[in-house]
Amino acid sequence: MLNVIWLLLLVSGIIVAAINGNVEVVTQAALGSARGAVKVCFDLIGIMALWLGIMKIAEKAGMVQGIARLMKPLIRRLFPTIPPDHPAMGAVILNLSANMLGLGNAATPFGMKAMQELQRLNKDSDEASEAMCTFLALNTSCITLVPATIIGVRVSFASANPTEIVGPCIFATAIAMTIAITLDYWFRRYSPWRRIP
């Protein structure tokens, strides 16, 4: 699936550029974004270090496991393959909370920590586990209660009511999240792609 999408993005781009007679755009875009990608990663180093450091304190103080225990009833249903007070679940909850608050830069390190813990339970396979798929379904469709960035943009263009979009955002994400959870559940339990019958 990803192989096909990746190839389609490249091939369709190059064909369209060729038809328009400006293939040199492709060269520029490819080289520029390759350099840009590394810059993104380097910018991430500091932020990652900060939040992974804070997270380690939370872990040693038992807060990460505490959060997981608090959300046990929910976690048990969504992640049946993970022991409910496993540190992975604490990281998952932290990531989703950071997402909800619109704290993108804190969400990413928490999410990667969660993936590392889940990968340990996945016995370092190169194939995604059920729990990882569920986590990413939740993560990518997660409700943002405080979409701070876009509110900021609306304020800067003198919107009469910059926060009026919060309600509709919550409505739309709630529906998207419901679909994501349902679909993930179906894939995990009934689809031909499930691992355990």
Binding site: A34, K56, C133, N139, A172
Partner: protein
């Protein structure tokens, strides 16, 4: 929800975490600074590990966008989506939503500059920006950081959620703001 309230939350969220976690840690006898450094060490390796995945994704996406293929695609689907009440101006934004967060923010800003933040287009762009996430970026980075290469069904789940979020945004905006 009032602006002042949301503003307070977003301004206090990070200072709050930076205050509470080390403080609780200290009270529970954690050597806080040592624990911080121990955790922070992983920051470099994790960030470096995602480079190949991010380069692969960002190159493909930027070729797709810069070549005009994205515009071509939005012209192809435009006749169908306009019947659903989607203004053609926001279509490129919807196509880019799962691919690139920074591109979408730029596009939403541009649309609000041209049409005003309180127009249907401006509101729709805002709602779509705040709904769902950059699925491809998240999958690439998260799976990449632990060396997962086979994503199984997670792309289908993520993209279906994105399309659902898009349809729901269009529906609710047409309902409330038209």
């Amino acid at each position: 929800m009032s602006l002042a309230f949301l503003d307070t939350i977003s301004r206090w969220a990070i200072p709050f975490l930076l205050l509470v976690i080390p403080l609780v840690g200290f009270l529970r006898k954690v050597p806080v600074y040592e624990a911080f450094v121990e955790g922070a060490e992983e920051g470099f390796t994790t960030a470096v590990k995602i480079i190949p995945f991010l380069v692969g994704m960002m190159v493909a996406i930027s070729v797709f966008r810069a070549s005009g293929a994205m515009e071509a695609l939005s012209q192809v689907v435009e006749p169908f989506t306009s019947r659903m009440g989607v203004p053609s101006e926001v279509l490129p934004l919807a196509i880019m939503r799962p691919l690139s967060g920074s591109a979408v923010l730029g596009m939403a800003t541009e649309l609000m500059k041209t049409h005003g933040p309180d127009s249907l287009i401006g509101r729709l762009a805002s709602v779509m920006q705040g709904t769902t996430d950059t699925t491809f970026f998240v999958l690439t980075v998260y799976f990449g950081s632990v060396g997962i290469k086979k994503y199984r069904y997670s792309i289908v789940t993520g993209l279906t959620a994105d399309i659902t979020g898009f349809i729901a945004s269009v529906y609710i905006c047409n309902l409330i703001f038209k």
